[in-house]
């Protein structure tokens, strides 16, 4: 299958600042592809170059086989965009925005059903400035889907939303993919990428530092999992070291942490049972994408 997006050696500088430093990746039809990284990593610049809003210094970009610089209007007919820093006039009503944007495209969906789908039917006569953060985001999604696009770009879709609105929005993104559309998701939330992405590129300092499925990235880390519990005084940690899959046992006072992989928890539990030990606070932690980012960059992704 031809990729929907092919980016080869994209580079973009602003004066002395290199925002994007030689990025390459491809996106396949029908996948949710996440571009993840901390604020200032170059994610938005990369995406804005891909959709033709910015002119890259060098590199080759094809979206749906089109060149975003020379075939910009043709491309914009076929893609849907939700931008990170964008707004509508504060006094425009929800229905007016949809009716207006509908005139920009050759082919559009009927916008009334979109209002229903995105839970905006009751707000159709509300002015943009009066909408909540979540309602504004849903309106932006509706606008991005208005031309029934083949590729949808969503930049920091859930930033500023409360957890409940975020989960609703995630369901919405899955629903977009189920319509057969390709989704490019730009986010600085690792959890969002972990929840939604089929594949992801981790970007840091303008470069792709990792590119794979979220599962493969976590497994590739070989961090495995951690089991923690509180023991009694004089507990012999030597008992745990020979267990299958255990790589390291840390003892901090009575606090024991067992590092390892495989079915670590059940091995630890049976070893403890054989000693008639049943700690009340036994817990297991899986490595996640935040650990991947930490391992790759030596920094936490959070600001």
């Amino acid at each position: 299958m031809n990729p929907v997006i092919a980016v080869h050696n994209l580079r973009k500088t602003y004066g002395p600042v290199t925002a994007v430093d030689t990025i390459s990746f491809t996106v396949q039809p029908g996948e949710i592809f996440a571009i993840v990284g901390p604020n200032g990593a170059g994610k938005t610049t990369a995406v804005e170059s891909i959709i033709g809003l910015r002119k890259p210094d060098s590199g080759d970009i094809r979206v749906l086989g089109l060149d975003p610089q020379t075939q910009s209007r043709e491309l914009k007919q076929r893609i849907g965009i939700q931008l990170q820093q964008a707004a509508l006039p504060s006094r425009i009503k929800v229905w007016e925005a949809l009716a207006l944007f509908a005139t920009f495209y050759d082919h559009t969906l009927a916008w009334e059903p979109l209002l229903e789908t995105w839970g905006l039917a009751e707000k159709r006569n509300a002015q943009f400035a009066k909408l909540s953060g979540g309602q504004k985001q849903r309106l932006f999604i509706a606008l991005a889907l208005l031309n029934d696009p083949e590729v949808v770009f969503l930049d920091e879709l859930t930033t500023g939303l409360d957890p409940q609105a975020r989960h609703t929005t995630w369901d919405a993104v899955r629903a977009i993919r189920e319509q057969g559309k390709t989704v490019i998701l730009v986010t600085h939330f690792m959890e969002e990428a972990e929840q939604l992405a089929d594949r992801m590129a981790i970007i840091d300092g303008g470069r792709v530092v990792a590119l794979d499925t979220p599962q493969a990235l976590v497994q590739g880390l070989q961090a495995g999992s951690r089991v923690r519990f509180t023991s009694y005084n004089g507990f012999d940690v030597g008992l745990l070291r020979p267990l299958p899959g255990v790589t390291q046992v840390e003892q901090n006072g009575r606090q024991i942490t067992v590092h390892g992989s495989g079915p670590l928890l059940s091995h630890v539990v049976s070893a403890l049972n054989s000693q008639n030990l049943a700690p009340a606070d036994l817990s297991v932690e899986q490595a996640n994408l935040e650990d991947v980012f930490l391992a790759l960059t030596g920094r936490q992704i959070r600001d």
């Binding site: 707004a87 207006l100 944007f101 920009f104």
Partner: protein, 245 residues
């Protein structure tokens, strides 16, 4: 074409929902007309070169509308649209940039004509305002002056970084011109020195151009040259300075 009309219509509705803008472009000039009309009436006066107060004031008030829209409404609206990312959102659609800009020009010309028509109708009905000597010329001059000050507005929006600074600079330019150009009060009552100074203000020439066509039916050549010159210069500058973000 359908897109352009839809943009103009939507933008017109938005402007009419903005109380401050509506007040200064539509209500305030009418208020002045009624206040000064009730004080001075429209009897011919020697102080005003044999013209009535209303006959002198209405071309001035139309100049005031042109100045308000060009130096305040347009630059503030454009820089707000830029600052908030509204222009960016529009640029992410296939909408040609020229339509975004032309719809702004068109809406503001419509607002100017709307404000001017309300003044003229009120003047005719309430104060026996004289009929313009050259009506078609007057209409053309209003549109031309409108374009000229909209070009000023595009320059301000391009040069100034934020909506706040556009508002501050717009006011600093507008208010002295408002009071010295003859837009808010007749130049004829001002000291000679002030009148000389007011010749340096572009809005004075809008007022003189409209006055000439209204009262005498002639194009004031100097003022026409100033208005056209301002349009040309500002077009050249705004082409270089206009920014989308």
């Amino acid at each position: 074409m359908k897109t352009l009309w839809k943009m103009i219509w939507t933008e017109l509705k938005l402007q009419l929902r903005e109380p401050v803008g509506v007040f200064f472009t539509l209500a305030f000039p009418l208020m002045l007309l009624f206040i000064f009309g009730s004080i001075y009436g429209n009897e011919p006066s020697d102080y005003l070169g044999g013209h009535g107060s209303i006959d002198i004031s209405v071309p001035g008030y139309i100049g005031m509308i042109i100045g308000t829209i060009g130096m305040l409404s347009l630059p503030i609206a454009l820089s707000t649209y830029r600052e908030q990312g509204i222009l960016r959102r529009l640029q992410a659609t296939p909408l040609p940039s020229s339509i975004i800009l032309w719809s702004q020009v068109a809406v503001n010309v419509i607002m100017t004509l709307l404000g001017a028509s309300m003044l003229v109708i009120a003047g005719f009905v309430v104060y026996d305002l004289s009929v313009p000597q050259a009506s078609l010329g007057l209409l053309l001059a209003v549109i031309l002056s409108g374009f000229s000050f909209l070009a000023v507005g595009f320059v301000l929006a391009g040069v100034l970084p934020t909506a706040r600074s556009a508002q501050a600079v717009g006011m600093a330019l507008f208010y002295p011109m408002l009071f010295l150009s003859g837009a808010a009060m007749p130049r004829q009552v001002m000291p000679e020195g002030v009148q000389k100074f007011s010749e340096l203000l572009p809005l004075t020439h809008v007022v003189k151009l409209l006055e000439g066509l209204w009262l005498d039916g002639v194009w004031n050549q100097t003022s026409l040259a100033v208005v056209v010159g301002l349009l040309m210069v500002c077009l050249v500058i705004s082409r270089r300075t206009f920014r989308w973000e």
